[in-house]
């Protein structure tokens, strides 16, 4: 039986559209009478993810260095323009089938069957999966629950509806927030399947209970109720109804609209059901594909956001290339020129693709990696070549992405510098210290370094010096984290070296690497959530923890009395192994923390190999003891440190603290911030927690491992070598960072109109005065550009330091890292 299509594409996002666009060109060339491909889209229209962007959003075409290669147009612009252009392309004759959600894919290359939710099926030789990562909303599961004007699964703007009766189904944060916002102008029923709102955040929980109890608000709740049926309205604009199963029997509510917020079904389960393997259990792991985007199921291709490429342009380029591959053309991917540029300064005459292959073979840890992932790693990395000083001057100056030349014998990083990149040596030699002024270690080709800061986020410990004629791959943390999440082998490889080096730095064992590896294998890696206890005062201990990332606080006589804070690279609980086994204090993770747990046996093996180092360890221990004793004798100071730690300051590197015994509330700090940062203050002085005379206002702390940097599609959030975390111009305003920041320190905002100068305000009363007003109406242009993320950049590069601190007349505003907390609380 002949198959329906040569290519079936699942998901009409940018990736899927681009596939269809290219496949249509092939059809035109061969003069096919019926299309050889079909684009199956589950939604009622194309590109659901982009349709859901806020109206008028400015869509960016990052990464700027990559050329678009697609038959379907795309350039930075308004959401509406882009959707319009795509609509034109589709109108030009793309074979799209809407409302065609694919629920199963069976078969093999040359003979796939795609089952649709409607019960239909489609057969095809090849399948391209481009369903993105947004998932699909969980539906009501009754007849008539398809998305329509009557049944909605999202709510763009609550003010779109007024004077209606609206039923909101769901009990999570989204449902609660929607329901409360709608109840300002409508009668709202919220339907909760359970007897309480246990899944909601505290704030939302309180708000929903208050709304239910508020007599002035038309806000009603049905607990322990499920949806039995939906009655669609007879004509648009009329009311329909929802039928509920309540504890008191069936109830019919007449309403204008139903908004269901039941969460989304992530695509993972569906993807796996197609036979595609996902290497790691981690939530952001992506399916493994080969250089041609083919998954482990031959004939089944994965592209776009689902394949781990989070931007539109990448998705579209892959869509084009995958058609070429399916048609047997081994075209060079769109990023080939980038590779060439990166390798341009290397001392050999070789094709870039061959160098790529060669390098992958050189590094044992990368050898078995999927070639596409390795390619991505190189494209995101910097290739560095060291030259003797006299040759360096003559080295060609390439573009931003070409080979970088550095002077041989100079550090690639220095002790104390904030950088979290990961270095792999492919040729030459690097000398490495594991701690400040520590002994030197040699790194040989195929080995890597820089994993300490990569994993802990702390500044570099010791210098790394590159010898002549060396070639290094420097990879950003973001890329390494993604790789470690999806590739178990790389994760283990890095972990193992991390442990060995951490042990070397902490204990300076005189052992061969093989012996050390044996010890390292017995070391257990432990993870603690914030607030979890490592060990408790008074119990007997038989292990110590070497902190790998995060912060551990030691408390004595009550967990709020903090007598010491320990950071990565430091030991907790060594006393039990070096002296009396009774724990003298309680150790708690102040933030998410990872430690290496060493038992007595491993500890003895390490220290006995180098007895001379024992005295150093004992010296450190006695210092710690003196220190904790002095803190324990000042309970007020200890309590204050405990408070700061509770505010998450353990992971801060540079935080704003206000001494309320000095603060006169003039808000000059906020004004200074706004004035020096395009009119928008990045700190909110009054909100935030206080204890005794310390106040932690809402503002960025420049965390060790910034939560905000986690999933930024254009990689717009960076960290300067001096530690400041800042947002670059390439921000696309997606809001991920705002959601990820646990401290509310990031806001999405339109840009503020420019201000008149001080003198023209003073003398001519022009515009608004310095620092006022806090609110502004965005101009049409700034609305066009859309909201972008704004946060504190610690006044990076400003002479004199942070404006908030410099503008404080009384000295109440202070910026500091955890090392200075003790000074702060002891001084009072």
């Amino acid at each position: 039986m002949p198959l329906d299509y040569r290519i079936a594409i699942v998901g009409a996002g940018p990736a899927g559209l681009s596939v269809a666009g290219r496949a249509a060109i092939y059809d035109a060339e061969t003069g096919a009478s019926t299309p050889s491909y079909v684009l199956l889209e589950g939604h009622t229209t194309f590109a659901k993810t982009i349709q859901k962007y806020q109206k008028g959003k400015h869509v960016m075409d990052e990464p700027g260095f990559l050329q678009l290669r697609s038959e379907v147009p795309f350039a930075a612009g308004k959401r509406e323009e882009i959707l319009g252009a795509w609509d034109n392309s589709i109108g030009g004759g793309l074979n799209v089938r809407y409302n065609a959600e694919v629920v199963g894919i069976e078969g093999e290359k040359g003979n796939f069957t795609l089952r649709l939710a409607s019960g239909d099926s489609v057969t095809a030789e090849n399948v391209v999966l481009s369903i993105g990562t947004q998932g699909n909303p969980r539906t009501l599961g009754v007849d008539g629950d398809a998305e329509s004007d009557f049944v909605l699964y999202t709510l763009d703007d609550p003010e779109d509806f007024k004077g209606e009766t609206i039923v909101v189904v769901g009990a999570g944060d989204a449902a609660i927030e929607n329901a409360i916002a709608l109840s300002d102008f409508n009668t709202v029923y919220i339907i909760n399947r359970r007897g309480e709102f246990s899944r909601a955040k505290d704030g939302n929980l309180n708000a929903v209970l208050a709304a239910i109890n508020d007599r002035d608000r038309a806000f009603h709740c049905r607990y322990e109720s499920s949806v039995a049926a939906v009655e669609l309205p007879d004509a648009p604009g009329e009311t329909g109804a929802i039928v509920l199963n309540t504890p008191g029997g069936e109830e019919r509510l007449e309403c204008h609209r139903i908004i269901a917020r039941l969460g989304t079904v992530p695509p993972r389960r569906f993807v796996e059901s197609c036979g595609i393997e996902i290497g790691s259990a981690s939530a952001d792991a992506v399916p493994d594909v080969d250089r041609h985007y083919q998954s482990n199921v031959p004939g089944l291709y994965v592209i776009g956001a689902l394949g781990g490429y989070p931007l539109i342009k990448q998705a579209m380029n892959q869509g084009y290339d995958v058609v070429e591959f399916i048609h047997g053309k081994d075209t060079r991917p769109a990023d080939y020129p980038l590779l060439q540029d990166q390798f341009s300064g290397l001392p050999y005459v070789m094709d870039a693709e061959d160098i790529l292959e060669l390098y992958q073979q050189r590094v044992p840890m990368f050898k078995r990696m999927n070639p596409l992932a390795f390619r991505e790693l190189i494209i995101e990395s910097r290739i560095t070549v060291s030259l003797p000083a006299e040759e360096l001057a003559r080295a060609p100056q390439g573009g931003e992405r070409s080979t970088v030349f550095v002077a041989a014998g100079e550090p690639v990083y220095r002790n104390g510098e904030f950088s979290t990149t990961f270095f792999t040596l492919v040729e030459g030699e690097v000398r490495l210290q594991l701690e400040q002024d520590g002994p030197w270690h040699q790194i040989k080709p195929g080995q890597f370094f820089g994993e300490m800061s990569l994993l802990s986020g702390r500044p570099r410990q010791g210098d790394a010096i590159v010898e002549r004629d060396s070639i290094l791959i420097e990879t950003p943390r973001r890329v390494m984290v993604k790789l470690m999440n999806s590739n178990e082998e790389v994760r283990q490889g890095i972990d193992r070296v991390f442990i060995m080096r951490a042990l070397q730095a902490a204990f300076r064992p005189a052992m061969s690497l093989e012996e050390l590896a044996l010890v390292a294998d017995q070391v257990q890696t432990c993870q603690f959530a914030a607030g979890e206890v490592l060990f408790t005062e008074g119990e007997t201990g038989d292990c110590l923890h070497l902190i790998r990332s995060g912060t551990v606080v030691l408390s004595q006589g009550g967990t709020e009395l903090v007598v010491a804070q320990l950071h990565s690279g430091e030991l907790a609980g060594q006393m039990a192994l070096m002296g009396a086994p009774l724990r003298r204090n309680t150790a708690t993770a102040a933030v998410r923390t990872e430690t290496l747990r060493l038992g007595r046996e491993q500890f003895l093996a390490l220290v006995n190999s180098e007895p001379e180092h024992i005295s150093t360890l004992q010296g450190e221990l006695s210092q710690l003891l003196q220190y904790t004793n002095s803190m324990a004798s000042q309970p007020e100071a200890a309590r204050s440190i405990g408070f700061l730690m509770e505010q998450g300051m353990g992971e801060a590197t540079n935080a704003l603290v206000i001494d309320t015994s000095l603060c006169v509330g003039c808000d000059n700090c906020e004004r200074a911030c706004a004035e020096t940062h395009d009119g928008i203050s990045r700190l909110d002085r009054e909100s935030g927690a206080s204890l005794a005379s310390l106040h932690v206002p809402v503002s960025c702390r420049h965390c060790e491992l910034p939560h905000c940097m986690k999933d930024c599609p254009p990689d717009a959030i960076r960290r300067a070598a001096s530690g400041e975390v800042f947002i670059t111009e390439s921000c696309i305003g997606c809001g991920n960072c705002e959601t990820n920041c646990p401290y509310d320190a990031i806001k999405l905002s339109y840009s503020a109109p420019p201000k008149p100068g001080l003198w023209s305000w003073l003398l001519f009363g022009r515009g608004s005065g310095p620092g006022e007003p806090a609110g502004f109406t965005p101009t049409a242009e700034s609305k066009d550009v859309g909201k972008k993320a704004v946060k504190c950049d610690a006044c990076m590069g400003r002479p004199g330091g942070p404006a908030c601190v410099r503008a404080c007349p009384t000295g109440a505003a202070i910026r500091m890292g955890p090392d200075q907390f003790v000074e702060l609380v002891e001084a009072r």
Binding site: A210, S661, S687, S690, H695, P809, G811
Partner: protein
Amino acid sequence: MRTGMLNWRNYRYGKWALLLGLFSIALYVSQGASPAQPPNGGTWQGYVLGTIGALLILWLSVLGVRKRSYSSSAGTVQGWTSAHIYLGSVLLAVATLHCAAQFGWNVHTLAYVLMCLVIFSGFYGLYVYVHLPDRVASNIVDRDRAAWLEELGKLDQRIRDVAAGSDAQLQGMVLSALELTRLGGNLFQQLRANDRSLVQEPGGGKPVSNAEQSVLIETLSRRIPDARKQSEAETLSELLSLFGRRQVILHLLRRDIRLKGLLKLWLYFHVPLTFALLAALLVHILSVFIYW
């Protein structure tokens, strides 16, 4: 003690001011006391003192500009304020020595008086800046004003709900107490922090003062022993405890408004007086040159 405005850089400007004061006294004394030329602004020493004084006044006024030059890297505002305080204080000595305490009904003395007013308002401001922040902080106990207002809102909602279960008379009184509660007001009322809250007593008539919620609290406590039913007693005692909490929060908010007002109020004297002083100073200098 933490580094505030006074002990900034170990009293650097305090020391400068002391030296300047001693220098001014020495200069003054060096004028001698000849009957032909008594010490005053007319001697060369008087000129020097006058010039120093005028420059000081100008520089002191520039604090207002520096405070708003947010990108300036010319020192910190804290350092400037510290210098401002000490040099502003020593100005009193410099200017007094300059004029050798010769006063009259003229523009010269007007300038001097205005200067004194600015300086003394500055002293008061300094007092406020040093003493009130601690009181503000301990008054609102580790929460911000918005959080207290939120609790107050919830409390009032709860009071409405509970009062719905009581008799109409009491309910009317309770609701009127909520409605006639006064917070804030004009500047004067804010600073006096006088509780102008009222309550409508049963039986009509003009609302009477319910300062510190006292009428309500009293009425409720009086009625509890008379309660007939268990449920009535429960309602009454819950209302009593709610109004008790309400009293605490209102009191605290009123104090907060008052203290924060005091922290700002003095600048409304200090700054306009500075402008007046600058004008008088200009006239003083011009007239000296024209008529002398």
